[in-house]
């Protein structure tokens, strides 16, 4: 029961308190580039959830059971990025076969998941910090669901911003960044959320 509680707490804290975009700064490029329409950000977020969880499931055993016993633990970056590139290709083929409409609406954003800092960042920090397998899965789930949450919220706000009366110099990206700053401040208030829980 204890393990289950700490698993759930790990997911929630990765998602809200230590949010992947607003606190750890991992997925900023798609966060600023894709979030103009709600539909495309929803599709991008779901695809990223898939890729991050799959990548963690493959990369953690690869590091701990293949690279470290063979003594080549320093090849982790090269191995991870090749694994991630292949996973993105496979997920693309999968989506193309089973749901061509989703594939068309994702368009160019699917190959862009390879250069998403969040995917490589989560895989690399799992092994850099020496987390156990359960904690890595919790970290991956929290990160990806947090990314989905934040990118959808942000795109809803940004659609409203397009039609409002901002000063000319701030139109477009600068006012969106100020909005992101306000969201980041809001999430800082959740620190110390679990201080009363006895574990």
């Amino acid at each position: 029961m204890n393990i289950f509680i700490s698993f759930v707490l790990a997911i929630i804290s990765s998602m809200l308190i230590d949010n992947v975009v607003l606190s750890r700064f991992y997925g900023i490029c798609p966060f600023l580039g894709v979030s103009r329409k709600v539909n495309s950000s929803l599709g991008m977020g779901i695809a990223v959830v898939f890729v991050i969880i799959l990548a963690t499931l493959i990369c953690w055993p690869l590091y701990n059971y293949v690279l470290v016993p063979a003594g080549i633990a320093f090849m982790d970056t090269v191995a991870y990025i090749l694994v991630i590139a292949s996973i993105v290709q496979l997920v693309g083929l999968f989506i193309k076969k089973y749901s061509p409409s989703l594939y068309k609406s994702l368009g160019i954003y699917l190959p862009l998941i390879t250069t998403n800092c969040a995917v490589l960042g989560v895989a690399q920090s799992n092994t850099d910090q020496g987390l156990t397998f359960l904690n890595s899965i919790a970290n991956a789930m929290g990160t990806s669901i947090g990314f989905l949450l934040i990118i959808v919220t942000f795109s809803c706000i940004r659609v409203r911003l397009e039609s409002s009366n901002t000063p000319k110099a701030f139109k477009g990206l600068p006012i969106a960044l100020i909005c992101a700053a306000l969201m980041a401040i809001a999430l800082v208030g959740l620190q110390g959320l679990f201080s009363g829980i006895k574990l």
């Binding site: 606190s23 700064f25 250069t115 000319k168 990206l173 800082v188």
Partner: protein, 244 residues
């Protein structure tokens, strides 16, 4: 193919001002927001980024005739990841403070859009010297951009510039510009990074808009002047024709 004069200088300067990768093309924003808490960390990140960019651009340009179309992307990724791993190991050995400050963001240079973008867009089509100058310009432009962000964040956030903790061969000095009680510590938080980035982009948009308006004003004046001249010429011709 004859090169126009001053091509190298234009190639170098375009990476710093006209096509600055951070402020104009908005690429590579993840390290720019995360490592700019102190000026030293930003300087270290910029130097490492420039080294990786130059090495990978030169190597891709050397091999551009040998790498065929299908394996382009995996080959570039392996080359870039190799240089990033080498740079990471040297940093861990000789600058351990920088390694623990930057953390996982050294590995994230692999997926930085600038490195991959320059390799595909420029280095795979031009010769070695041009690719070297282009990479040098882009790297320098990126370093100057994140240094300016770090300057604002550190001075407004802590009130002091401190140097010498990471680069231990320089003696440590700390210059307190604003008294510590008046420093706005929000700029050291993640929210402050977004604010500084947004305001800098707004200032650049303002300057660009003013330039565009000025060009449009000059073009309008030119048109009016030409119309007046043509009218004067036509009036002169009529006067001459009347005199004859």
């Amino acid at each position: 193919m004859k090169r126009e004069k001053g091509y190298t200088k234009k190639n170098f300067l375009k990476g710093i001002i006209a096509e600055n990768p951070l402020f104009v093309s908005i690429l590579g924003t993840c390290p720019a927001l995360a490592t700019t808490k102190t000026i030293e960390a930003a300087l270290g990140m910029g130097i490492l980024f420039t080294i990786v960019l130059i090495c990978s651009s030169v190597l891709v340009s050397l091999l551009r005739k040998v790498i065929s179309e299908e394996i382009r992307t995996p080959a570039y990724i392996v080359i870039i990841a190799t240089f990033v791993t080498i740079v990471k190991m040297f940093t861990n050995a000789f600058l351990p403070e920088l390694f623990s400050t930057l953390g996982v963001f050294i590995s994230l240079i692999v997926v930085n859009c600038i490195v991959l973008g320059r390799a595909e867009a420029y280095a795979s089509k031009n010769n070695v010297f041009d690719s070297f100058i282009d990479a040098l310009g882009m790297g320098l432009g990126y370093t100057l951009a994140i240094l300016s962000m770090a300057l604002f964040r550190e001075i407004l956030g802590t009130g002091a510039i401190s140097f010498g903790k990471i680069f231990y061969f320089i003696p440590y000095f700390k210059l307190q510009i604003i008294p510590k009680n008046y420093a706005l510590s929000i700029f050291q938080n993640p929210a402050g990074a977004f604010i500084v980035f947004g305001v800098i982009l707004a200032v650049i948009a303002f300057i660009t808009n003013r330039k565009k308006e000025y060009q449009a004003y000059l073009a309008r004046q030119e048109k009016i002047r030409k119309a007046e001249e043509a009218k004067k010429l036509a009036a002169q011709k009529v006067a001459e024709g009347g005199n004859k």
